[in-house]
Amino acid sequence: MKKSLLDYTLRIRLPIVLFVAVAVSVITYFVSRAERDGVGYAPVQPIAFSHKLHAGTMRIDCKYCHTGVTSSPNAMVPPASTCMNCHSVARKNKPEIIKLTKFYQDSTAIPWKRVHKVPDYAYFNHSAHVNKGIDCANCHGKVENMDVVQQVSEFTMAACLNCHRNATTQLTNVLNIKNGPTNCSACHR
């Protein structure tokens, strides 16, 4: 039987095309996953504030600035007045501090770029997690080593559930940790 063009197309060409298409999609999907989930996202901030300097070198506690973290769902980005506790005297002549002082004196808010975000339909609660003994670094990574803060973990539902289901293996640093709730209303309402 003579091989027809149609035969060739159906038997060889089509499977190859399909295979390549599927392979490209699958590989792209997995390779770009982290990128799409925002891992490595490190936006330029309006003031070049260094967590490495403040939290790392100077060992200022996270809660000194992010005061809401133990009492509110929001960890809270500190008001400029918190910065001015020190910077009304410290390093007053540095260009970044001059920028800061101007924001403070004009009573305008500093438009910090948001780094971490869960979608609006998920209600994450910092207080509930931190008061259970979970460390900031468990989700945010080693912020004390970052000059510019970047996202290190995925903030997806799968990532949330990974800990909520396997708390003891995922959060080895936390004593007596139990699995978190996995029902819908725990996050969505």
């Binding site: 808010a109 910090w112 770029k113 209600y123 609660n125 029902n183 209303s185 309402r189």
Partner: protein, 1022 residues
């Protein structure tokens, strides 16, 4: 050729014109396109853009759009405070005590704010009168603050009627100039205000009068208790009404008095009434008799209800006095038209009930209360005072606390004089002090016309209204949440008002405006009234309280508490003046219909008409929304040959109004009841032209007298106006559907006597229930609710509270007509009995959070499922909107978003700023196409869980209060952990009176209803 009709020759037609005139439409049928549709075709008429060019443009615009897209990773900004206010943590609510000024009761409120914006209002738990509860108007009033229709700047009305914005400085200067001119030329300055309950506001007005000596202050309230006050002053020589201790009353006789709905301090009265019906505390209930013509909420709750037209009330009270006098052996000198017997025969009243009533009143000497409605005449109130006197009920008047009144309302005669003076040019300035007389005043006054003769009219208002439209200066004032104030309605208690948000717009507090005019045009500053208030307290009121602390500490602690209590005046002396009885004379009964102009349940005097939440709260009895109507008895309707929704013209002498008819079971014959507060001509996009203005029927005298008008003529007119209700009722005559709610055991009821004999009477016959699903164990906290139907009055406050807490959208009349209202909790109302004498049952219905929830099994995407703490969860972002769940729900409590409701109503009124500020940030705004329903306030559960974790404690059931539970004035709703054996809720769940609705479905609901017991007599005597 003549077309012959053949039997099978069916004639189809597309339009009426086609049907009627075949000849004319024939050419149209023959042509494929209608005339002219293809004529224009020609190359020259085509677009000059070629196909290639079009594609090029298309791709270019796509490319530009792509280039314009921001970085997909961008997550926006986090904007922190620059200088964070102390005690404010983003994400944590702050609560401030204040005072509501939605009506005359001045309830203490607690305002919840998030990041500085008020999002929820509840009663102030420390307030001794309303004790943590407020009415539906108070709950929903928050929408008035965020009303986009509020005035944002002072305006000046020009000759063409158009308003122009102007600055406060110009307005102040102009008004002060005119005020001074008026004083110089001896012309009157008229301030038209409502009743004043704030002592310091009164002082401001007094100061104003001192500065401008030709000032005269007029006060009016359409909804007033003047008749009660006048009667009281005749009987007891003081206008200070007594505080009634309802909780001590064993027998309550309400005469055309809706004390659970509209008359007096309803929140307190509901609490005290319900307290006397708490099966958990005592098996002794109070007994409520209601004698009324209008079917009211109180009548719906009564153990015995007698249907009697308000015309006959005086006669009824007199025969009752006569009968009781005879029984206790005192001589009755009051006029009588006949004996009790003849009266009962004349009005077809049930003899048994009257006998029980008299027996009960005599038996409970000093422990009963007879209460006449605000709507009734002064004479009736005098007679009722006397009746209470001979029954020894003065014991129930609080011994050393009374109501206070700072001002007495202006007599109608004086308003007539005012109008006369306005017409003759003797009035230089009229100031409307947050009032709307053009809407309220009887047209007989001719107030609107007289306004044209006044050189300067100033209206101090929150939103534009009928009066401000005709004013020269329209000055916007602060909402209550932006205001300072002090209020007093009873001796011994002051209630404070403090702002919880800075004024949203360029508005000023109404007292500040007057103060500015007193002290000169440039004297205004933001704190002008705040300082005035504080000074006055420091100098005058604080010293009189004799406190051991300094003023500052006193002031801040009082603002914190929202209320100051002090030792009351000496013991009250209630000595009845028999001379007051001499004024009572029997009226000749008139022919024609009687019209009762009742207070609407949710509109107030019309000030809440632009509040969609309140417009959409169903009337507690008729369940009608977005309208008022003429309620008429089915028998009278039959006589007049009118039906539901028919328009009628009601005419009293030369005043008339046109309303739709509603057949109300239980309404007295020849009586029409119309709720006031509707029919606003200029109330904003929501409230304008909703319903009909009943004030049009008021006569000059009725502004300060009885709102019962006789001699009305009803005439059916062409047309219909469709009334929309959230719940129809079955025919009360049809044997098959009659009492279906009893037959299906949706409503289970008994009597106290029956319960005492056999506490387990509800559960005599049990279904054998099968379950094919496997039973799930609930080990931790398991949430459940109980609703005590003995306490529930059906007042709808829970619905209002839920609306605010859960961001429930308003859908509008048309959509309610299609059954698409979105309220998560509703009050079902069932009638049984006859049209003439129905008995009503109320039942709050919300998601029952069934253990075997039928909705969960049918969801194809598992968007609704069960949580380990017993909640039926609804996940919006998973829902695809099949509506299967709603279809399978036996309780019909699921609500579907057929539209984006906020966009759909009144041209997107609810998407206008700043309404988004009113939303609770802890609850998702649901979008079009998803199902929603009661969540048992999951956001509150999660908040309680967070606090428990913070404090290292275990979450307990009492940590959580749902919004409806918190709002319920009767405390009929109990929420908690049913797995905790010591908890309140588990007691309710185990109670003999507890039942589940549609138990035989075996959905295992987690809402338990406690069956209502009627406290009726025959069971005990039988």
């Amino acid at each position: 050729m003549k077309h012959v009709k053949m039997p099978n020759d069916k004639k189809y037609w597309k339009s009426l014109s086609e049907y009627q005139d075949e000849g004319a439409s024939r050419p149209m049928k023959e042509n494929e396109f209608i005339d002219g549709a293809t004529e224009e075709f020609g190359l020259s008429n085509l677009s000059p853009i070629s196909r290639k060019k079009f594609i090029a443009l298309l791709s270019a615009s796509t490319a530009f759009a792509m280039a314009g897209c921001s970085n997909y990773k961008d997550r926006g900004e986090i904007v922190p405070y620059s200088k964070k206010p102390e005690n404010v943590t983003p994400g944590v609510a702050n609560y401030y005590a204040s005072t509501c000024n939605g009506c005359s009761q001045s309830c203490g409120i607690l305002i919840k704010t998030r990041e500085g914006r008020p999002i929820k209002v509840d009663g102030n738990p420390d307030h001794p009168i309303n004790r943590g509860k407020i009415c539906a108007k108070g709950q929903a009033g928050i929408l008035n603050l965020y009303d986009p229709y509020r005035l944002r700047a002072p305006q000046y009305g020009t000759a063409s009627g158009r308003l122009e914005d102007l600055s406060w400085q110009i307005a102040d200067a102009e008004v002060i100039k005119k005020l001074e001119e008026s004083v110089k030329s001896g012309k009157e300055i008229a301030i038209v205000a409502h009743s004043i309950y704030s002592p310091t506001t009164k002082k401001v007005l007094d100061d104003f009068s001192a500065k401008y000596p030709t000032t005269k202050i007029y006060t009016y309230d359409i909804l007033n208790d003047e008749n009660r006050k006048h009667a009281w002053s005749k009987s007891y020589g003081t206008t200070n009404l007594p505080v009634i201790e309802w909780e001590k009353a064993k027998v309550i006789l309400a005469l055309e008095a809706d004390f659970l709905g509209t008359d007096g301090m309803t929140v307190e009265q509901t609490r005290k009434y319900a307290d006397g019906r708490d099966i958990m505390k005592s098996k002794e209930f109070n007994r409520l008799y209601s004698v009324e013509g209008t079917m009211s909420l109180t009548g719906a709750n009564a153990d015995y209800r007698l249907c009697l037209s308000p015309d006959a009330q005086l006669e009824f009270v007199l025969v009752l006095i006569d009968e009781i006098s005879k029984k206790i052996g005192i001589i009755n000198a009051l006029p009588l038209s006949g004996s009790l017997k003849s009266f009962m025969n004349k009005y077809l009243l049930d003899e048994n009930i009257i006998n029980h009533l008299i027996e009960d009143l005599l038996k409970n000497h000093g422990q009963s209360i007879v209460y006449a409605g605000n709507i009734l005449s002064e004479e009736i109130h005098v007679a009722v005072n006397y009746l209470n006197e001979i029954l020894g009920n003065a014991k129930l008047y609080h011994p050393n606390q009374t109501l206070t009144s700072l001002v007495t309302l202006t007599e109608p005669k004086e308003f007539e004089n005012l109008v006369g003076k306005m017409r003759s040019g003797n009035v230089g300035v009229v100031i409307h002090f947050d009032t709307n007389p053009v809407y309220h005043f009887p047209i007989d006054f001719g107030y609107e016309q007289a306004m044209k003769f006044v050189p300067l009219i100033v209206s101090l208002v929150e939103t534009d209204n009928e009066t401000s439209r005709l004013s020269n200066f329209v000055l916007p004032i602060n909402h209550a949440f932006e205001s300072w104030g002090d209020y007093q309605i009873r001796t011994g208690i002051y209630s404070f008002q403090q702002p919880v948000i800075a004024p949203l717009y360029n508005t000023r507090q109404k007292e500040s405006i007057l103060l500015t005019w007193i002290s000169g045009k440039d004297s205004y500053k933001d704190t002008i009234y705040h300082e005035y208030l504080m000074n006055r307290w420091q100098k005058e009121l604080f010293p009189s309280l004799d406190r051991k602390v300094d003023f500052k500490s006193f002031w801040y602690s009082s603002l914190h508490d929202g209320v100051v209590e002090y030792d009351r005046a000496a013991k009250n002396n209630y000595s009845f003046n028999k001379g007051s009885l001499s004024s009572i004379a029997l009226m000749q009964s008139t022919s024609g219909f009687t019209v009762a102009l009742t207070e609407s349940y949710f509109m107030g005097d019309g000030r809440f008409t632009n509040n969609g939440w309140l417009q959409e709260l169903p009337h507690p009895v008729s369940k009608i929304v977005w309208d008022n109507y003429a309620a008429i008895s089915p028998k009278s309707a039959k006589d007049l040959n009118i039906e539901n929704n028919d328009l009628v013209e009601i005419k009293i002498s030369d005043r008339k109004a046109m309303l739709p008819i509603f057949l109300q079971p239980g309404q007295a014959d020849n009586l029409i009841s119309i709720a006031l507060g509707y029919g606003r001509r200029n109330a904003g996009p929501i409230g304008t032209d909703v319903g009909v203005n009943g004030n049009l029927l008021l006569s000059k005298e009725s502004i300060a007298a009885s709102r019962i008008l006789q001699g009305a003529v009803i005439r059916k007119v062409e047309g219909k106006h469709e009334l929309v209700s959230t719940q129809e009722h079955h025919s009360l005559d049809d044997e098959f559907v009659k009492d279906l709610h009893h037959k299906r055991k949706i409503i289970q009821e008994g009597t106290l006597g029956k319960y005492e004999k056999n506490p387990n009477f509800l559960h005599e016959e049990k279904h054998e229930l099968f379950n094919i699903a496997k039973t799930v164990e609930y080990n931790g906290v398991k949430w459940a609710m109980a609703i005590d139907l003995n306490k529930c009055t059906g007042c709808n406050v829970c619905v209002a509270g839920c609306n605010v807490e859960n961001n429930i959208p308003v859908v509008g009349k048309e959509q309610v007509g299609k059954g698409r209202e979105m309220q998560w909790i509703r009050i079902d109302r069932y009638y049984s009995g006859t049209n003439e004498n129905p008995s009503l049952s109320h039942q709050p219905m919300l998601c029952q959070h069934c253990d075997n929830a039928p909705c969960e099994n049918v969801c194809p995407v598992v968007a609704t499922n069960h949580s380990p703490d017993g909640l039926n969860q609804m996940v919006y972002n998973r829902c695809v909107g099949t509506k299967y769940c709603s279809n399978n729900c036996p309780y019909k409590v699921r609500r579907f978003n057929f539209f984006n409701w906020r966009d759909n109503l009144a041209d997107g009124y609810y998407e206008e700023e700043p309404i988004s500020l009113s939303h609770n940030p802890e609850v998702t705004i649901r979008s079009r196409g998803v199902m929603e329903k009661c969540t048992f306030c999951i956001q509150r559960i999660m908040e309680a869980r967070q606090h428990a974790t913070e404090q290292g404690k275990v979450l307990v059931g009492t940590d959580v209060k749902t919004a409806c539970e918190e709002a319920c004035p009767a405390s009929a709703i109990i929420f908690g952990d049913m797995n905790d054996p010591g908890s309140e809720i588990s007691k309710y769940r185990k109670h003999e009176l507890g039942y589940h609705v549609l138990e035989e479905v075996n959905a295992k609901p987690n809402v338990t209803y406690l069956a209502r017991l009627r406290n009726v007599n025959e069971e005990k005597t039988a």
